[in-house]
C-alpha cells in the first residue's frame, strides 16, 4: 500500500519534470529572535536569520512568495523573502500578535492580538488594517474553513471558539470548550473542527455539518507514568484525507496520533521537550514539531508514525511552516 503510493507520487513528479523536491522549513525561535531554515530532504540547517523581537506565529503565502512572522514584542508582522531571507516591508498587526491564519487565496491575514482581545484583519498587499474584531480574552488560535467563509478564533481565558463570518467580520457562533484553548484546525473537507485546550487537557471535536457548530466529542489523553496535568494539547494537524490527526502535547514531550474517523488516540510518539506547534511537508511524508525546551525540532515519518530525527535549531523554537512545492 505504502509502496504503491510512493510509486504514484514518483510518477506524478516525473510528469511534472521536477526533481525530488526539497522544501525549506522555517522555524521561529521565540527566545533567539531568529528564524532557522532547514532543508526537508537532508534535514540540515541551511540558514538562521534575525526575525524581530519574540517571533512566534509563522506562515507562508500559498505561492511561496512571502514568509510572515508574528514579531510579538515589535507589535507587527515581519515579512521576509523565503528565498533570500531578506526582510520586506512589515505589516501592521495590532498589539502583541501571537498566531494568525492566511486566507486560502493568500490575502487577507487574520491575526490574533493576545494582549488586546481582538482579531486584526490585514490586507497583505496594501498593508492596511481592514478590520478589528472584538473577541474574548486572550485570543490565540486562528483557523479558516476550507471554503474560506468562516474564521475561527480561540480565546484562552474566555475558553471559547468564536466563529467569525469572513465577509462581514461578525461573530456568528460561540462554542464553549475546555480551559485555555490554544489552537484550531479544520479537516480539509470542512466537516470537522478540532480545538485544543491546553489546561483542560482535551481536544474538542466540533461538527461543522449541522446548522450550528456543536461539540460531538472530547478527545482525552493518557500516558502511563506521565502526570495527567502535563498532557497539555497545543498544536493540531490533520492529514489532507482526514485519516490522521496529530496533537502536540506540550510538557509531556509527546505527540498523539489520532484516528481521524473515530477520533480515538492510536499511539503517542516521544519527541523533544515542550512540544507546541506542528507542520507537514507538502507531500505529508513528514511532520515537524517545535520543541521549545530542548531547542530542537523532531521529524516524524507520517506513514510509519515514527520519529526519525531531531535537529537542533535556535533558542526556544515556537512555530513552524514549510514552503509549498
Amino acid at each position: 500500500m505504502i509502496r504503491s503510493t510512493l510509486l504514484a507520487t514518483a510518477a506524478a513528479l516525473a510528469i511534472a519534470a521536477t526533481p525530488a523536491l526539497a522544501n525549506k522549513v522555517f522555524v521561529s525561535n521565540e527566545r533567539g529572535n531568529t528564524v532557522t531554515v532547514l532543508d526537508s530532504t537532508t534535514w540540515e540547517v541551511i540558514a538562521e536569520f534575525p526575525a524581530g523581537n519574540r517571533p512566534r506565529g509563522i506562515t507562508i503565502a500559498p505561492d511561496g512568495s512571502e514568509l510572515y512572522v508574528c514579531a510579538s514584542d515589535d507589535n507587527l508582522v515581519r515579512v521576509f523573502d523565503p528565498n533570500t531571507f531578506e526582510e520586506l516591508p512589515s505589516l501592521p498587526s495590532g498589539p502583541d500578535p501571537e498566531l494568525f491564519v492566511l486566507h486560502p487565496s493568500g490575502n487577507p491575514l487574520f491575526i490574533a492580538n493576545e494582549d488586546d482581545n481582538m482579531v486584526t484583519v490585514v490586507d497583505v498587499k496594501t498593508r492596511q488594517v481592514l478590520a478589528e474584531i472584538p473577541v474574548g480574552i486572550e485570543p490565540e488560535g486562528m483557523a479558516i474553513s476550507p471554503d474560506a467563509r468562516t474564521v475561527i478564533n480561540t480565546s484562552e481565558t474566555t475558553n471559547m471558539a468564536h466563529f467569525i463570518d469572513a465577509e462581514t467580520y461578525q461573530i456568528t457562533h460561540n462554542v464553549l470548550v475546555d480551559q485555555r484553548p490554544r489552537y484550531a484546525e479544520f479537516r480539509q473537507d470542512g466537516t470537522k473542527l478540532y480545538v485544543s485546550a491546553e489546561i483542560g487537557g482535551t481536544v474538542s471535536v466540533i461538527d461543522m455539518t449541522a446548522e450550528e457548530p456543536s461539540i460531538t466529542k472530547k478527545i482525552t489523553f493518557e500516558v502511563p507514568g506521565v502526570q495527567p496535568e502535563w498532557l497539555q494539547p497545543v498544536g493540531v494537524k490533520v492529514t489532507a484525507d482526514g485519516s490522521r490527526v496529530f496533537v502536540a502535547l506540550g510538557p509531556s514531550n509527546r505527540v498523539a496520533v489520532i484516528d481521524g474517523a473515530t477520533d480515538e488516540v492510536i499511539k503517542y510518539l516521544l519527541v523533544g521537550q515542550r512540544v507546541w506547534q506542528l507542520a507537514f511537508t507538502p507531500d505529508e511524508k513528514f511532520l515537524i514539531t517545535t520543541n521549545g525546551n530542548s531547542n530542537d525540532v523532531s521529524i516524524i515519518d507520517v506513514a510509519r508514525e515514527e520519529v526519525i530525527k531531531s535537529v537542533q535549531v535556535g533558542q526556544q523554537p515556537w512555530g513552524v511552516v514549510v514552503a509549498p512545492d
Binding site: D96, P134, N159, I171, L176, I199, G200, E229
Partner: protein
C-alpha cells in the same frame, strides 16, 4: 480610618459598576448564546488591620488592594458570561476587625450568598460560622494551618495557599539545590512563630536540617528612619554571629519587621530565603510564563499598579465562581461548591497546569512561585519529588495530615 475606607470602597463600587456597564455596551454587537439569564452577585470583604508601614516602600498598601483583582475577575467572568447570558456583579467592602461581622451580616441581609474574604483566621471563622446555610465563602488571604485542619468549615474554600504550602515550596527548592543545612531566624509575634513552625515541619518532611534557630524580637518602634541602613549594617551581622555551619538562612517574619534586613547583612555569606530573599508567592508582577504577561498587562491597565498576591487571590476566587457558573449554568452556591470540589473542575490560572481543590479540606492546589523580587527564580513543586495523586499535593497538608472532617 473606617470612614475613609467606607468612602473609598463606595467610590470603588461605583467605578466597578460603571466599568461593567461600559463593557456590556461595547460588546452588545457580539452574538450571544441563548441561555437562561443568570445574575451572579458576589461580595468581596477586606478586613484592614492596624499595622505599621511595610519595610519596603514597594509594598506600601493601596486603597484598592485585593479589590482591583476583584474588578479584573469580574470583567473576565462578564466576558464569558455575555456569551452565556450570565451577568456578574461584585461589591467590595473594606472594614475593620470590629465591624467585619456586622458588615458581613448586612450583606447577607441584602441577599448576598457568595463571598470572597480577605481576613485573618478569627474574623474569617466568625463570618463562616454566622453565614446562612446556603452561603459559600472563599478565603483569599489567610494561610493559617488550622483553617485547613481542625478548624476547617464546609462552607469555606481556600484560594490562598496555606503557610505550609509556601514553606514546602521553598524547602523543596532548597533540597533540589542540595542546600539542606538551614539556619532559622524567626520573629516573636504569634504569626511569626506559626510560620516558623511551618518551616520546621517542612524541613522534616523533605529531609532538610534546621541546624540552629534564633529569635529576632519585635521591640516595636518605627520601621523606617533616615540613614537607618547604617545601624542595620552594623547590628544585623552581629546578631547573625556564632551560628552553626549552614547553607541558607531561613527567615520567618510574617509581620514584616526584620526579614528584609537580612540579605547581605548576615555574618556568613549565606543566601536568605522565606520572608526575604527567595520568597514564595502566588503571584509576581514580574512573572511571564504560561501567559502570565497577559494577566499582568490587563491588571496594570486596569489598576495602574503591579498585581500582588492579594489581587491575584481575589481574582482567582472570582474566576472559580465564574468558571463554576459557566459550566453548571447555575448561580446557586451549593451547586457551585459541588462543582468546584468535583472531578470535572479545572481552572487555568496562569500557572502552567490546572488548579483544583482538595476534597478533604477545600484547599486549592496550586504551584507556588519563588521570586527574588525581580525575576521568577523557580516554581514549586520541584522535579523529582513524587506524589501518588498529583505532584501539587506534595505542597501543604496532605489528606492524612489534615484533621478536617467537615468535608466528609
Amino acid at each position: 480610618m473606617a470612614a475613609e475606607n467606607g468612602f473609598w470602597s463606595s467610590l470603588f463600587n461605583l467605578r466597578l459598576r460603571a466599568r461593567a456597564a461600559l463593557m456590556g455596551a461595547a460588546l452588545a454587537s457580539l452574538a450571544t448564546l441563548p441561555a437562561a439569564a443568570q445574575e451572579v452577585r458576589t461580595a468581596v470583604i477586606r478586613v484592614d488591620y492596624p499595622s505599621l508601614l511595610p519595610l519596603s516602600r514597594l509594598d506600601l498598601p493601596t486603597e484598592d488592594r485585593g479589590f482591583a483583582g476583584a474588578t479584573l475577575g469580574t470583567e473576565d467572568n462578564a466576558t464569558t458570561g455575555r456569551f452565556m447570558g450570565q451577568t456578574h456583579e461584585t461589591v467590595t467592602v473594606a472594614t475593620t476587625p470590629e465591624d467585619a461581622l456586622a458588615e458581613f451580616q448586612r450583606l447577607t441581609d441584602e441577599g448576598y450568598r457568595l463571598f470572597v474574604i480577605l481576613a485573618r483566621e478569627a474574623e474569617l471563622l466568625a463570618m463562616a460560622d454566622a453565614a446562612p446555610g446556603d452561603a459559600l465563602l472563599f478565603n483569599s488571604r489567610s494561610g493559617a494551618r488550622s483553617l485547613r485542619s481542625e478548624e476547617c468549615r464546609a462552607n469555606l474554600l481556600h484560594v490562598a495557599p496555606s503557610d505550609a504550602m509556601r514553606a514546602d515550596a521553598v524547602t523543596q527548592f532548597l533540597v533540589w539545590k542540595k542546600w539542606t543545612n538551614l539556619f532559622l531566624v524567626h520573629g516573636s509575634n504569634p504569626e511569626d512563630v506559626a510560620l516558623a513552625d511551618a518551616y520546621r515541619a517542612s524541613a522534616r518532611k523533605f529531609g532538610a536540617r534546621i541546624v540552629g534557630e534564633r529569635e529576632f524580637t519585635d521591640t516595636g518602634g518605627s520601621r523606617v528612619s533616615d540613614s537607618g541602613h547604617v545601624l542595620v549594617q552594623r547590628q544585623l551581622p552581629v546578631f547573625m554571629q556564632n551560628t552553626p555551619r549552614h547553607d541558607v538562612v531561613l527567615a520567618a517574619d510574617a509581620t514584616d519587621y526584620f526579614a528584609e534586613y537580612l540579605p547581605y547583612n548576615t555574618w556568613e555569606a549565606a543566601p536568605v530565603a522565606g520572608s526575604a530573599g527567595l520568597v514564595p508567592v502566588t503571584w509576581a508582577p514580574t512573572h511571564e510564563s504560561w501567559g502570565a504577561t497577559q494577566l499582568n498587562t490587563r491588571f496594570e491597565k486596569l489598576a495602574n499598579r503591579p498585581m500582588r498576591d492579594e489581587d491575584y487571590q481575589t481574582w482567582l476566587a472570582l474566576r472559580v465562581i465564574g468558571e463554576a457558573v459557566t459550566r453548571t449554568g447555575s448561580a446557586d452556591p451549593g451547586e457551585l461548591r459541588a462543582y468546584a470540589l468535583g472531578d470535572e473542575f479545572t481552572l487555568a490560572a496562569f500557572k502552567g497546569e490546572p488548579v483544583t481543590f482538595r476534597k478533604w479540606n477545600g484547599q486549592m492546589r496550586q504551584p507556588i512561585l519563588l521570586t527574588n523580587g525581580r525575576m521568577t527564580v523557580s516554581v514549586s513543586p520541584q522535579d523529582g519529588f513524587l506524589h501518588q495523586r498529583t505532584l501539587l499535593d506534595s505542597l501543604g497538608l496532605d489528606e492524612p495530615e489534615s484533621a478536617c472532617t467537615a468535608f466528609e
